[in-house]
Amino acid sequence: MNGQTVAIIDYGSGNLHSAAKAFERAAREAGLDSTRILLTDDADVVANADRVVLPGVGAYADCRRGLDAVSGMVEAMAHTAHSRSRPFLGICVGMQLLATRGLEYAATPGLDWIAGDVGPIVPSNPALKVPHMGWNTLDVDRDHALLADIPLGPDGLHAYFVHSFALTPRDPADRVAHSDYGGPVTAMVARNNIAGTQFHPEKSQRLGLAFIANFLRWRP
């Protein structure tokens, strides 16, 4: 992993600067000093990267438009994730974009890399507020390298969530972890070399830095 490049895709969505800083810090703390974190809107950089991160803050349709507006980017992502089988991580709306479609405001097609819809959160307890906003614990559905050595479960570390919509994978095996919020809310999905988190690892302090370090070492 010496000299590896990590492309964080800049498509005009939200707070990429702090995501880049969190990846830089996690790389440093994990002893992966030669990792290069590239904040980029250049499809060629993404097509040649060793790892790719698709962040995302905002409304689904707006993020999809932003991604499509970057020339060649969707093709470059597919090239790196599918043809080259490199580790790929979607964060928040970046994870939701991996789904078949999003239902926020208007039905919008996603990338369909992880089959399923992104629909509104409807807690079984009407007293629970939406957005699901704040720090929640993670319950693991199946072991995954990205969660290695992170204390999870009701007494484990917390992850930061802020979302009104959630991805429900069509294949339950694609769900790696969930949080309880008036019922299970998908917290992490993964299929082969592609993973996504609903929570924000770049905002999740200890859990987040450990998760990012795992991603930087991940060999799916």
Binding site: S18, D62, K129, P131, N136, H158, Y160
Partner: protein, 258 residues
């Protein structure tokens, strides 16, 4: 399980913290980044910057402070004060804010809330409601919205306004009692409760915290999802950890792993 959030709030003017932060050994108590780092280390669940800069021309210093804070602290940051346009929101988000808090602009043009939510998602649009009690003793409780730091009455009923901005896409409400702000006599629990019960989005209680029991009351009795406080933390009266331990002892679900 989702935890109750504690949110220290920093007043920022021309990129510097005012109403000083006097706890711990900060190298520079006026530097928002120093204060943010200290609160990050202390286990704060989020941080709020309230920009009280008088002129719009000085926004550059705020953006710089937001950007440096976001680089140093991996926790959510809400920035409020003087946000009037979708471009203002975008600029703050790109600088590193996770959420923006809108006050006067939401009163003047409620559709601004809708435009912001449609562009950036409800989750990042906080509407700050500054309210004063207008009912007399013995009358049914009523509150009115004020703007400009509580100086300008609007004639708008606070509960109706809360419902209206939520319907337009506000993802969270920051409810400040102008009667209690700075009084250290506790939140206006009736106000917090009335708004929290009226809307489906999270409510942050604000204005008037004097001690740790006030934080408990804001959540338990006011049904707030988060509690915001300034002076009890800034002046070292209590640490965030003490506040969390106190709230946990009162039976509230708190994040204690930070």
């Amino acid at each position: 399980m989702l935890k109750t959030r504690i949110i220290p709030c920093l007043d920022v003017k021309d990129g510097r913290v005012v109403k000083g932060v006097q706890f711990m050994a900060l190298r520079d108590a006026g530097d928002p980044v120093e204060a943010a780092k200290a609160y990050d280390a202390a286990g704060a669940d989020e941080l709020c910057f309230l920009d009280i800069t008088a002129s719009h021309e000085d926004r550059g210093t705020l953006l710089d402070a937001v950007s440096r804070t976001a680089e140093a602290c991996f926790m959510p940051l809400t920035v409020g004060g003087g946000i009037r346009t979708v471009a203002d929101i975008r600029t703050l988000l790109l600088a590193g804010a996770d959420k923006v808090s809108i006050n006067t602009a939401a009163v003047n043009d409620p559709d601004f809330v809708a435009r912001g939510a449609e562009k950036f998602g409800s989750q990042c649009i906080v509407v700050a409601i500054d309210a004063k009690r207008t009912s007399g003793p013995g009358e049914p409780a009523a509150w009115q919205i004020f703007t400009h730091g509580g100086r300008n009455p609007t004639g708008l009923d606070a509960i109706a306004f809360a419902r209206m901005v939520t319907a337009r896409g506000a993802g969270e409400l920051l409810v400040t009692s102008m009667d209690r702000d700075g009084m250290r006599s506790g939140y206006d629990i009736a106000l917090t409760r009335a708004i929290s019960d009226a809307v489906s989005v999270p409510v942050i209680a604000s204005g008037g915290v004097g001690g740790l029991d006030d934080l408990v009351a804001g959540v338990r009795d006011g049904r707030a999802s988060a509690v915001l406080a300034a002076s009890i933390f800034h002046f070292g009266q209590h640490t965030v950890a003490e506040a969390k331990a106190h709230m946990a002892a009162a039976g509230l679900a708190m994040r204690l792993d930070a």
